[in-house]
Symmetry: C2
Subunit: 550 residues, 2 copies
């Protein structure tokens, strides 16, 4: 690892398989290269197994030998970077009809054809955030035809947290399913923190370069210049940042539109650029130098995440003129970026009541040529600080069902403080729920298989399988064991919620078993046969479950 | 209190105001009686106050003198019970054009006219669950034109919990906003537990009488009879139960429809009745004796909650023939109940993927004459045991937006064990979020006022007001204080999430203040004036926030 962070050591992170699962690699041949596609494999107690999309990198391998100082193995180092088509970006290659190794890897991961991956990238409807300088990254795709992805924000602030904590948060977030992480550090050692995160991250890393640029001018936004910003972007690009949030849509004339809002401008980047625009009374360098920025990003194949600097920060401000004016500008910038071969996604709100959510997606798709939408929640109400992972999961599920490709998580600490490791996990699991609920609603071919596998385990009282198939096996088991810790309870035909006498699943299973024993295997036969069999059933005591002493 | 529970004492429950709020009673004149309408009053630090609908009863009064043994004051004891119109039920009175005292109380609580309350009840689109024998109850209404309500299930099981714990859960659930509670006890001392709960509950209490009836036949469902069930209903009616879940729609011919389901029958009541139907090969007494049941419920003005015994227990089983066949039968039963003057609501699923949720509401409204829909979630995915409060809040918000009138909460322990006191609170707060999000989406006149008040407090860094206006002030403050416990942080213009240099709200506020100082109070003026003012702003250092040492 580079000498810039020799002063810091990160000694330990969480490793080892998730309870009830093992890390498995599917071998896939891609033009002579053998790709190893990671899955979390749940070996079920009935002899079957179930594979789950895995984002956790080598940290969950049983036999991982990790070197945090040296970083993860450089997975993509040997992969071809075709010269064919101008800029060496996934977008340019896709447009030239080339299926890259990254696309093959992703196709195997998603269970789709490599051609679908290529075509969606070529159309700008999907992005593959993969900086050439981040070879440690396991390629993934963000687009509405694929599984909905989630991002976890980490990073220190001036008030709290250390590098070691942030690296652990990255490992921890990806362990539970974060598809990308954003390092939003604004405190000490921004460069060094990012270096540690990038070298050890198996998922794409995003940043907001204006944060670091602001540090370089001692926190005075009006002192920001294009040169300082550009150099910061290049510094981060060289390190391997995969996507960058750029608030280039905050135009001078939009700032007054926020004056009568309940909560003004709530995007950090947006407020910084608004302050700059006001002070200089001109359009920001992010907007005026956008083409130059595109050239830099194209060189590394960094994906734009065009920031919504004027997103609403309260229910009252949702879908207002400031928000949608900026979105129109993001649409113009999308076209410019793509003309430079740069991949683009569009960031979205924020705080939006349920009935105004879908309009956001429709407008984004219309104005931004269906570039992948990447939204923060949105929170469906403002009144529940400490529960904004939940207020926003409601909005997130709805907006993802409508077509949002990636959801930026919100933790219980939103609006209140910097999330700790527990908050990160809660945020990630909550957003996996929202993303999966949307996948189900969109009819994603693989989504319901997991629900069915888990529900089947539940119905058959395979408690260990139910836990292992869940998003968070540790907590599921812990909650179960709170009242029934004994080993036999793991195969018992009840839990403490209803107790043995009232378990409907048990009664239902017994009814079914009775029917099957009588050869009544389908509905017609069951109905027809029931008349004669019911007397028999009653005679046998009608005992569909064992009585217990109450 | 009656001697049946002399052996038990419940010594203590949670009392005192919610942090940052005081209990206030609005005096409302109703035909000579002065009604005292409870609200949770938040006295804001800016001198204003904000009133919130309150369900907590006298337990949150500052000067409450509680007598758990004697029960709550009998609020409704002196209220008129007109003789005019056949059965003495809110439905019959409403149909006769009578506005009852309960209706006036509710109108004041909801901020609507008494006539709207009466008309919605008369149409069967709303119910007022208020057993004549539960005079301690503060009247409330369940119907889609009013604020969405939530129910909290409590009650012991054969495995765990005591009477004292269950009474505290009732007080605790209503403290945080439960509009009704259901006592689903299936363990020891069912009658006594219910008596303690009823005498001390300020909200309507629901039950599922078949649970207690089953205890009386030692857990053998096939041994159940109409007589045992009827006597149990009368026993509970005499105690004051306000609404009863009755699984009268589980017909014999529907049972085979569940045979090929992934999770069979998951309703406890449904599985009990299915076992009975199979064993006897005839329709259940709940169905064949439904008219007699109506006569009993009419006498006490108990509301039917027609149970969905065949609700889906997994994504795979959602909206299937078994579920909708039962719903059609519930529609028939609705008409019969109403013809007896009995109020009716209809229970709904369960587990339903997002794209299949709205169909449930449309069909329920069509088949059941828009009787209030009362749904359990639904869970939008099966894969997150330990987080099913969240999976179901997503479904609950969506189904409430579509017209569901009351949401039955789900706690983190769902599928895993009996909820404890913490789980009850988490479930209640989560469901207050879902209900409020739906109120916002439906344009409920009072809903957004609270979001606006909280967001305004947030933007103005009135931290204490932000906490006090939230659903859970204790946890909001606790999370904030985790990183910034010092007293000055309560008025600081930042939190630990971004630190002082990066607070967008602060920058935004400073930008606005700058504009206001310059007399740029509206957008046009601001834009027009900005050119000349920007130089001035820059000259002044462009200092929109105070730099800190990083």
């Amino acid at each position: 690892m580079s000498s810039t962070h020799a002063s810091t050591t990160v000694d330990t992170v969480t490793t080892g398989p998730i309870e009830g699962s093992v890390k498995h690699y599917e071998q896939v041949d891609a033009d002579g290269t053998t790709l190893r596609i990671p899955v979390r494999r749940v070996n079920l107690t009935n002899g079957e197994h179930f594979d789950v999309y895995d984002t956790s990198g080598p940290y969950t391998d049983s036999d991982a030998t990790l070197d945090l100082e040296g970083g993860l193995p450089k997975l993509r180092d040997g992969w071809a970077k075709p010269d064919a088509a101008g800029p060496r970006t996934q977008l340019a290659w896709a447009r030239a009809g080339i299926v890259t190794t990254e696309m093959r890897y992703i196709a195997a991961r998603e269970g789709v054809s490599p051609e679908l991956v290529r075509d969606e990238v070529a159309a700008g409807r999907a992005v593959i955030p993969a900086n050439h300088n981040h070879p440690e990254c396991e390629p993934m795709i963000i687009g509405k035809k694929f599984a909905v992805k989630i991002n976890a924000n980490i990073g220190n602030s001036a008030v709290t947290s250390s590098i070691a904590e942030e690296v652990e948060k990255m490992v921890w977030a990806t362990r539970w399913g974060a598809d990308t992480i954003m390092d939003l550090s604004t405190g000490k050692n921004i460069h060094e923190t990012r270096e540690w995160i990038l070298r050890n991250s198996p998922v794409p890393v995003g940043t907001v370069p204006i944060y670091q640029a602001l540090e370089k001018v001692n926190g005075d936004p009006t002192a920001l210049t294009w040169e300082i910003y550009r150099d910061t972007v290049i510094e981060q690009a060289e390190q391997g940042v995969d996507y960058m949030t750029v608030h280039a849509g905050v135009l001078l004339r939009y700032v007054p539109l926020t004056a009568k809002r309940v909560t003004g401008i709530v995007s950090r980047g947006g407020s910084i650029m608004a302050a700059w625009c006001l002070a200089h009374h001109q359009e920001s360098f992010l907007y005026t130098r956008f083409a130059e920025l595109c050239e830099i990003l194209a060189k590394y194949d960094i994906t734009f995440s065009l920031g919504d600097g004027l997103r609403p920060g309260s229910i009252a401000d949702a879908n207002d003129e400031a928000q949608f004016a900026e979105l129109r500008t993001l649409g113009e910038l999308t076209k410019i970026a793509k003309s430079h071969g740069v991949q683009v996604m569009i960031e979205g709100p924020g705080h939006v009541p349920m009935h105004k959510i879908v309009e956001n997606v429709r407008l984004e798709e219309e104005l931004c040529e269906e570039a992948p939408f990447y939204t923060l929640g949105p929170l469906a109400t403002d009144i529940a600080p400490a529960y904004d992972h939940i207020t926003s999961a409601i909005g997130a599920a709805i907006i993802a069902q409508a077509g949002t490709a990636m959801l930026c998580y919100v933790t219980p600490k939103e609006h209140l403080g910097l999330p700790n490791r527990d908050d990160v996990k809660t945020g990630v699991i909550t957003y996996k729920i929202a993303a999966h609920a949307a996948d189900l609603a969109k009819g994603h071919p693989r989504a319901q298989e997991r629900d069915d596998a888990l529900s089947k385990a539940r119905f058959e009282f395979r408690w260990r399988d139910q836990f292992a198939l869940s998003l968070d096996p540790d907590t599921a088991r812990e909650y179960h064991d709170e009242t029934l810790p004994a080993e036999p309870a793991k195969t018992a035909h009840f839990c403490s919620m209803c107790g043995p006498k009232f378990c409907s699943m048990r009664i239902s299973a017994d009814v079914r078993e009775y029917a099957a024993q009588q050869g009544l295997s389908d509905s017609q036969a069951l109905e027809a046969g029931m008349a004669e069999k019911s007397a028999e059933f009653a005679q046998a005591g009608g005992q569909v479950y064992l009585p217990v002493v109450s």
